[in-house]
Amino acid sequence: MTSVKTLVSSIAYACLLASSVSSVVLAAECSGTIRVLAQPRDGLTLLENYKDEFAKLSGGASFEIDYLNENDRRAKTKADASTIGKYNVYYIDEANVALFASAGWIAPLMDYYPAEYDYADFDPGRQKVATYDGKAWFAPLTGGGDLLVYRKDLLEAAGIKPPTTLDEMKDAVKKLHQPDKGIYGIALRGQRGSGANVWRWMPYFKGFGGEWFDGNEPKFNSEAAVKATETYLELFKYSAPGTQTGGWDESVGAFTSGQVAMLVESTPLVGMAIDPKSSQVAGKVGYLPPPTPLTGGGYGHGLAIGTKANADEASKACAGLFIAWATSKENEQRRLEANQFSELNRTSIMTSETFAKLYGPDLGQALADTGKVTAVNFWQSPLWPDLGDRWGIILEELIAGSRTDIKDGLAELEGFAKDLVARSQ
């Protein structure tokens, strides 16, 4: 018995010693400033209030976050990672994770992510989009799918049932469109970009059975793409002014300022629409999964470890520790308490009592339902941003009316795709 006790206590001492040694090593190695290039997120702003906590945890390291909006963040991270590599941590997303991973600009996260931070607790959909080539590359800061968000008051007044199919949605949009009263049927994204107009167009394309590629052979120049584009352009007739060249901000702004009847948008919209601080329509909002056959655009944004700025293993470990801490349960709980709905990614948080109390059972149900139709709509390839952005420009031309032939646009994209694939080989 005594020997067992001695064994247990020696193991415990050994563990204690090991952990204190590792924290000493960590403390010695994690000094200086971890530089992060990100896009503005309430969760990250909140995180900056807890710099002291991270300093204590890491043994003296600090962090600095530079913010750029989405398109600029994408361009700058690409430029930085491929050249000087000034940033230790990059904010990346589902659309460019393949590019960053295959180019070797980021390190596999799990090699440097302390196990006690429980990566498996992240929403499975978000883990899926953070994975490329069988490895997880970022820890999610935001993500989700799509929801149809509508104005309950307007639909009730017009005697319209919340739409569950695309045809019903089209009818409802047309009926509710009253520009002379300052109400527009829908808000879509017209601004060029794989993460902008193309992102909102893809649910139609995939919903109508479209496919991007079969191996290296482009398959997207199809009936599904034509029909998706026709539908998108038809709906654009009822889209709020400013959205023709606008992105997420313009669509969401038009809805939360009370000028749009309904829209299919990424799930964080709900958090903004029901918050009286950011929405003039709080209390009048309903949500449903996207109407059939639209698929939800599964997405995830998060933090990854840069390889250039973290030349040695120790700095990669520090960056990994920062990412783990920034996306930890404790920090996510703080975001929940600060009512930052769109910054929540952990199953344990989203199924917590506090969540249910704050957002009610309807939202939980809608999120669960939309999870079933959430899909990876884009082409999972390092070449995707290039192809998606090119289609974004053609699509914006079609929306703006400076080009009218959809088939011609798709043929141009097909030529571009073949050239792109050939160049990559």
Binding site: Q191, Q244, I393, A400, S402
Partner: protein, 287 residues
């Protein structure tokens, strides 16, 4: 004696060397890289000769960008100069010394404002739903006015902001130039019963030919660098209607493709075209 004559060389050589390195090293590298097929995502790359340049001429976006850049130059330079001269003369003719001092200060504000800030302010002002500029139109007609989403008006709307920044600034310069002119030719013209507009057209402006040409060149060079303004206000859209050469090169290099060799090809062509065109114009109009 020798040391005295060498002194300027000793002082001038280091800064000139630094300047030469800063100017020529990136230029030489851009030329070198434009003959290769280097992409950001791949560290390798091979020599491809003139392939990038040949591809450019069959690229509809490049051809479009050349047209947009030329239109942009023409519109912004002409309008800026017209606004500057007209406002400068109006101030000189009608404003009292105190009014001139106040207006000069006001006219200087737009150009002091950082370009990106100005672009954001105006982008919001032109917003079809909340914009202050478009509000009267919406109030009168009941229809929103979306100038930045319309391919026919987007470029001109952005140009307006450029002219607002530089036209007013140049107006102050024109005013100050007019104030430096000797009064005798004006008096002589008045004695000959010249009308006010004739005095300015035939007497004052010819006397200001040299500085006005310099201002034109400054504005031409400045207009070539309107990237920030266009990028914030339209991102080259709708479609590609406001995509200038520098914007397209940046798109190809960093936003979309990471094709830095292709983008460098564009930059080299831009540099050559600018050098040739500016030299020719300079020689022709040299006062």
């Amino acid at each position: 004696m020798t040391s005295r004559t060498r002194l300027p060389t000793i002082f001038l050589a280091p800064p000139l060397l630094i300047l030469a390195a800063l100017a020529f090293v990136p230029t030489a590298y851009a030329v070198y890289i434009s003959f290769r097929n280097r992409e950001l995502s791949r560290p390798d790359g091979s020599f491809v000769g003139l392939a990038n340049y040949i591809d450019l001429f069959s690229d509809r976006r490049f051809v479009n960008a050349v047209g947009v850049s030329l239109t942009w130059e023409l519109v912004t330079v002409t309008l800026t100069l017209l606004v500057a001269v007209a406002l400068g003369i109006l101030l000189f003719e009608f404003a009292s010394a105190r009014q001139r001092a106040v207006l000069t200060l006001v006219f200087l504000v737009p150009v002091i404002l950082p370009r990106v800030s100005a672009a954001f302010v105006w982008k919001f002002a032109f917003h079809p739903l909340y914009g202050i500029v478009t509000y009267p139109y919406k109030a009168i007609t009941g229809q929103p006015l979306d100038l930045l989403s319309n391919p026919a008006t987007a470029l001109m709307t952005v140009a307006l902001v450029d002219v607002w920044q530089w036209g007013l600034f140049f107006a102050v310069i024109v005013l100050k130039l007019l104030e430096t002119l000797p009064p005798q030719p004006f008096e002589a013209a008045r004695l000959d019963h010249a009308r006010p507009w004739e005095i300015y057209l035939y007497v004052a402006l010819p006397m200001l030919k040299a500085p006005l040409i310099s201002l034109t060149f400054i504005k031409m060079i400045e207009s070539l660098r309107a990237f920030d303004l266009i990028y914030v206000m339209t991102r080259g859209g709708p479609g590609i209607t406001t995509e200038t050469l520098d914007m397209y090169a940046f798109s190809q290099g960093f936003i979309e493709s990471g094709r830095i060799s292709y983008a460098s090809g564009m930059a080299v062509l831009m540099m050559l075209a600018t050098t040739v065109i500016f030299t020719v114009i300079w020689k022709r109009v040299k006062p």
